[in-house]
Amino acid sequence: MIEILYFAWVRERIGLPRERVDTRAATVADLVEELKLREARYAAAFADLSALRVAVDQDLTDFDAPLAGVREVAFFPPMTGG
C-alpha cells in the first residue's frame, strides 16, 4: 500500500487530497499510468507530466524513481513559495 498525496490544482482536479492505493507499479511513471486508466479526472490531471513535480517519501525526485519500499508519493505543480 502506498499513500498518494495531491496538492494545489492536482488535488482540485482529482478531487481529493490523498488516497491509499494497492499497487505493484515499479516506478512513479508506472503508477501514473495505472492512475490514468482509472477515471477521466486522473487522465486529465496527469495529461502533461512536464507540468507536474513528484516527491517520494517527501523528497523531490523524477518520474522514473523506483517505488520499492516507498510509503508516500506526492504529485503537485511547480512550487511557488516565498
Binding site: 496538492f7 494545489a8 516527491a55 517527501q58 506526492a74 503537485f76 512550487m79 511557488t80 513559495g81 516565498g82
Partner: protein, 144 residues
C-alpha cells in the same frame, strides 16, 4: 538555524529584534509581502505539504549555513489565508561580513521559491487562480 512553518501571522520587527546579530558583523533580512497589483485581490491561500515543508526548509537552511559559515539563520513561512499587505514569509541571516550574509539570504530565497512545497492561490473579485511558477525563479537556481 531555525525553521518555522505556521498559519499565524508573525511580527517581522519582533522577529528581527529577537534574531539579533550577536557575534556577527552583518545581518540581512528579507520579507515577502502579499501584493495586490490589479486591485482585485481579496486574499491569497497558501497550501503546503506538512512534513515535507519542514524537511525541505531545514535542508536548504543547513546547506546555506555550512556554505557561508553563518552565525545565525531563520526562516519563517506562513500557510493558509493571507490578505494584501500581510507578510508571507521572512528569512534572516547573520555572518561575519556582508557578502556572506547577502549571498546566504538570496540563496535561501531562491531555493525556497522553487524547492519548498508551497503553492499560492489568488482569490480575486473576478475569480481564483493558482499562481504559476516563473521561469526566472527556476533559472535563478543555476547561479548557485
Amino acid at each position: 538555524m531555525k525553521v518555522r512553518v505556521q498559519r499565524a501571522p508573525f511580527d517581522f520587527a519582533a522577529e528581527a529584534a529577537a534574531f539579533g546579530g550577536a557575534g556577527a558583523g552583518a545581518v540581512v533580512t528579507f520579507t515577502g509581502i502579499v501584493r495586490d497589483c490589479e486591485g482585485s485581490l481579496q486574499r491569497m491561500e497558501i497550501e503546503h505539504y506538512p512534513g515535507m515543508t519542514e524537511r525541505a526548509l531545514t535542508r536548504i537552511a543547513e546547506e546555506a549555513s555550512a556554505r557561508w559559515g553563518l552565525v545565525g539563520g531563520l526562516i519563517i513561512h506562513r500557510y493558509g489565508p493571507l490578505v494584501p499587505g500581510e507578510a508571507i514569509m521572512m528569512v534572516a541571516t547573520s555572518a561575519a561580513h556582508r557578502a556572506e550574509a547577502f549571498a546566504a539570504a538570496e540563496y535561501l530565497m531562491d531555493y525556497l521559491k522553487s524547492r519548498a512545497p508551497f503553492w499560492k492561490k489568488e482569490i480575486r473579485s473576478d475569480g481564483e487562480a493558482w499562481v504559476s511558477a516563473r521561469d526566472a525563479d527556476e533559472q535563478a537556481l543555476t547561479r548557485w
